[in-house]
Symmetry: C2
Subunit: 294 residues, 2 copies
């Protein structure tokens, strides 16, 4: 049977587009008419969901996946969580692979409860997970992935400047911590490698550190990468390319505000937010194709 | 002005009880009559909230704080999140200090959104945070704490067996990672030390590793500890004692199922769940007082 990462790789290849669109909406991004409808948590959540739906309609035939960042929904309390669930359901209905960027982490039965929250239902195909608790904090998620044919991306080397504070600490072995974590991720996912050669247990590896991404890519060949940091954080196609294998596979690159708020930039001035999102997604696909020689 | 940890320390001292009751309810814990009302996500969430309310009523005059584990609510979707919010509001109304055990972690504006979700409103006094993203992932929470007089507990050395996989890695400096993280936590919280000598930026340090807790306690004198692992995970009062300073201050010890599901054990057989919770909380306070010489 194909695992979820096989399915993701197939979609990426058929669209020639290793892009995941980050649905991280903020009220600031919304056009005035929609923003005005947001007068409390319930209506703000509804406005974000409406915004997401139009973007999904506009990009669903050119990108394989969306990533939903839970923080921007949780700030509107349970109304926001309902909007996150509905956004995910709408994206799934429209044929997209859906990632929940929740960075959850806990142990034992608590991690089982998080796995039930995000990996048991139909809404999400992948979630992001923080590795700090060690294997006790991974196994419940990995078990849910095996049972439901889902996947996780475990934080390895993040895209932000201070990620180095901890992730680049040199261990007594001489290895930086992120390489040790990369090795754990490979080991945790070894029994879940699919036909594509990639496991359902992947890693988060930022586009902003191409040297480190290349080191991880070279060493951990069965680990699929989710790559943040493209666009607003400074990463470009040629930086993201370090996370891919020799065949343009093995990774997917996220872009959030660079796509969903593209209409706010000079380049797409005068367009609707959803038309601009499509244009920006096309431009990003072109950039990645050029960088990867696709 | 007193910071939130000064206020927590005062409550602990006036009750002579450094216990936080973990409100991590599961349907399995509920008495049959209440469990029967849980037929879908909405009614399950309502049943958990009802369960929590009776426990809060029963323990509010003998413990200073409760800790709400988000996973057990999120598994019921937005209904569960509403029940979590209502549980927190009820606990606050009843004079308890409320911690949300969410272990959130992200960077920049995403961490700001999580801080808005959990540290801007009235429901929560503290949340738990994972340090893996480094200071970019702490600063937005620390800023919200300074603005709203709230606190965070950052994971340092967790209570689960495999925490050692990562947290005990020896660094090139010879130091284990958890000690390095302890140093970062002290540094991150240095500007937020209150009258009690403790900062609003605390650390999570498991009761199951007293030697490591003692090393952290000895070195980082301004860091207040949230101590999981007591009870069901095997930690006892004398193990937890390693996290306290010489005056019986500087730490608070969590117990979840050992209190809220005490009525399921032989010791409290025949009691209601909320009466048993009170008895178990009294027994735990006695154990900690004896271990700390209070």
């Amino acid at each position: 049977m194909k695992n979820i990462t096989d399915i993701l790789e197939e979609r990426i290849k058929s669209l020639k587009n290793p892009t995941v669109v980050g649905l991280d909406p903020r009220l600031d991004y919304l056009p005035d008419a929609l923003k005005k409808t947001a007068t409390d948590s319930a209506s703000a959540a509804q406005a974000l969901e409406e915004y997401n739906r139009r973007i999904i309609d506009s990009i669903k035939d050119i990108v394989p996946a969306v990533k939903i960042q839970s923080a921007f929904y949780e700030m509107y309390g349970y109304h926001g969580v309902a909007a996150m669930e509905q956004t995910a359901a709408y994206a799934k209905k429209n044929g997209l692979i859906v990632m929940a960027d929740v960075k959850r982490n806990d142990i034992g039965t608590t991690a089982e409860a998080y796995a039930a929250a995000f990996l048991d239902g139909d809404n999400y195909d992948y979630i992001t997970v923080n590795p700090y608790p060690g294997y006790d904090g991974i196994k419940p998620f990995a078990d849910a992935c095996a049972k439901n044919n889902k996947g996780i991306f475990v934080l390895a080397r993040m895209s932000n400047p201070s990620a180095a504070d901890i992730q680049n600490m040199t261990l007594a072995t001489g290895e930086p911590l992120y390489m040790h974590i990369g090795g754990l991720i490979e080991q945790w996912g070894r029994s879940m490698v699919g036909e594509s050669g990639y496991s359902a247990i992947g890693a988060v590896v930022g586009a902003t550190n191409p040297t480190e991404a290349a080191a991880l890519r070279a060493k951990f060949k069965s680990v699929f990468f989710l790559v943040p940091g493209y666009g607003a954080q400074g990463g470009k196609g040629k930086d993201a390319a370090a996370s891919f294998d020799g065949n343009g596979g093995g990774a997917i690159v996220n872009n959030s505000r660079g796509i969903i708020a593209a209409y706010k930039t000079d380049k797409y001035k005068g367009m609707t937010y959803y038309a601009a999102a499509r244009e920006a997604a096309v431009a990003m696909a072109d950039d990645l194709r050029a960088a990867l020689g696709l």
